[in-house]
């Protein structure tokens, strides 16, 4: 530590200059010195001790009482020095937590990664953005051997790390389901049992599961208390809620889910979302579902991915770039 060796000399120089001429420049030397002493973690009490011994050297006429007062000051500063060192170690700890969190985020990405099916006749657009580091929203696509496309969207009540941990379990449970012939209502029933058994009673998950059959264009779906999506009917240009009733996952292990079906015509769109989309809070309160429909309408001529991207951008701006909740928006569009 060569700085510590030269510190005394530098301090002596700066202090002597200041004592002989009280100029701004001399003070500036002091400020520059403090930048260095902080860098080398010199604590306040050490500075006072240094100050005292140098003062005694360069100005021996200093009244004894002034010197004693510096001893008193040193005693008072011990506490500050300790607080300073505590601050440093807490900062170090925070750095560690931050990098741990980054690793966890990467693990989550790998774990929850899903391949968006590429299938002629159906166009898919997806965007999912976490409010904090880790995402408590979850979406997943599966394509079975009959070419049916399964789409899941789920939201844990809560956000951040606890929500993300919970989501990993859902993903694992979904992977354990048989690969074919899973009716959406059956999927929700079996996930509900897993959640009920494994999750803290204070934690709930909402989920929507849909299965699109590209041969007969039937979209079958079921919902476990999830924020209703929208259905866009190209023939009339109208939007309506994609209503489906069902209890949240994890409330009661015997919950049954009702199956719904819808014939999808060319140009029709299925819009799925998490409550981070509808609970986008502006100065006037939550945005209305009608406003959201308006946004979709404005972008309807674009492809599915562009629509979801644009809506996210608009809502992000509306909230001054501060997401309060995880945001997930999915659009499935039957090509014309």
């Amino acid at each position: 530590m060569d700085f510590r060796e030269t510190m005394e000399e530098k301090y002596r120089e700066a202090l002597s200059t200041y004592l002989s001429e009280q100029t701004e420049n001399a003070l500036y030397q002091g400020q520059k010195l403090s930048r260095k002493t902080i860098e080398y973690k010199v604590s306040p009490e050490e500075i006072i001790s240094l100050h005292k011994s140098i003062l005694m050297d360069i100005f021996p006429e200093t009244p004894a009482k002034v010197m004693h007062s510096l001893d008193f000051l040193l005693e008072v500063m011990i506490g500050y020095g300790n607080a300073y060192r505590e601050h440093q170690s807490l900062r170090h700890e925070q750095q560690e937590l931050k990098s741990e969190l980054e690793i966890a985020t990467n693990v989550q990405h790998t774990l929850l990664d899903t391949k968006i099916p590429d299938f002629d006749g159906i166009e898919i657009g997806v965007i999912s953005v976490p409010a904090k580091h880790m995402n408590g929203d979850y979406y997943h696509f599966v394509q079975d051997e009959n070419e049916c496309i399964g789409v899941a969207i789920a939201d844990v009540i809560g956000k951040g790390i606890p929500a993300a941990l919970c989501m990993s379990m859902i993903k694992y449970a979904m992977d354990s389901l048989p690969e074919t012939g899973n009716a959406p209502s059956d999927v929700l029933e079996s996930l509900n049992r897993v959640v009920e058994q494994n999750v803290d009673p204070s934690m709930f998950i909402t989920m929507f599961y849909g299965l699109y059959n590209p041969h007969n264009h039937i979209f079958s779906y079921a919902s476990a208390g999830h924020e209703p999506g929208f259905y866009y009917e190209a023939a009339t240009g109208k939007f309506r809620d994609l209503d489906a009733k069902g209890l949240l996952l994890g409330v009661n292990k015997k919950t049954k889910y009702r199956a719904y079906e819808k014939l999808v015509e060319p140009g029709d769109m299925i819009i799925l979302l998490s409550d981070g989309v509808t609970e986008c809070r502006t100065e006037e309160g939550f945005i209305e579902r009608e406003t959201l429909i308006q946004y979709i309408q404005n972008n309807i001529h674009l492809c599915a991915q562009e629509i979801v991207n644009n809506i996210y951008k608009q809502l992000e701006k509306l909230q001054h770039f501060q997401l309060r909740d995880d945001f997930t928006l999915i659009i499935l569009k039957r090509e014309v």
């Binding site: 009490e45 050490e46 040193l74 011990i78 506490g79 300790n82 607080a83 505590e86 807490l90 700890e93």
Partner: protein, 133 residues
């Protein structure tokens, strides 16, 4: 053990007596003013903990030698309620946030060596040493 002397901690004045004892020994050993202040602050904290939480106990100051280095050892003992979760009280920010002073992590930082034994219901035994550089 060449030298040890103790102060009983019963009331707040005893904290001052313990500090005085520690400072005298630190001076004798040749500690500089910064280290003297650090040692006395550590003694204060330990004595204050005894006074506040254990009711009574004692603080002993010992000169210690190891090879050719000399040091000062503080031994704080009480028969108070003890500490349930030592890891917790050794965590930074645990006591300081409540304005309780530097706390045990502070004492550990002020000294070079720190050792704690505590049995709930029986009492606490803390040893902290500072070496002369």
């Amino acid at each position: 053990m060449e030298f040890q002397s103790c102060v009983k901690i019963i009331n707040e004045w005893d904290i001052v007596a313990a500090r005085q004892l520690g400072r005298n020994v630190a001076k004798e050993l040749g500690f500089g003013s910064v280290d003297q202040a650090r040692i006395t602050t550590a003694i204060s904290e330990l004595a204050r903990n005894i006074y506040l939480y254990a009711g009574q106990g004692k603080v002993c100051i010992e000169k210690v030698y190891e090879g050719n280095k000399a040091g000062l050892k503080i031994i704080a003992t009480d028969e108070g309620p003890g500490i349930q979760d030592i890891r917790k009280v050794m965590e930074d920010g645990y006591t300081t946030s409540g304005g309780l002073g530097a706390g045990l992590p502070g004492v550990k930082r002020l000294m070079d060596e720190f050792d704690i034994d505590s049995v709930p219901g029986k009492g606490t035994d803390i040893k902290a040493t500072k070496w002369l550089r």
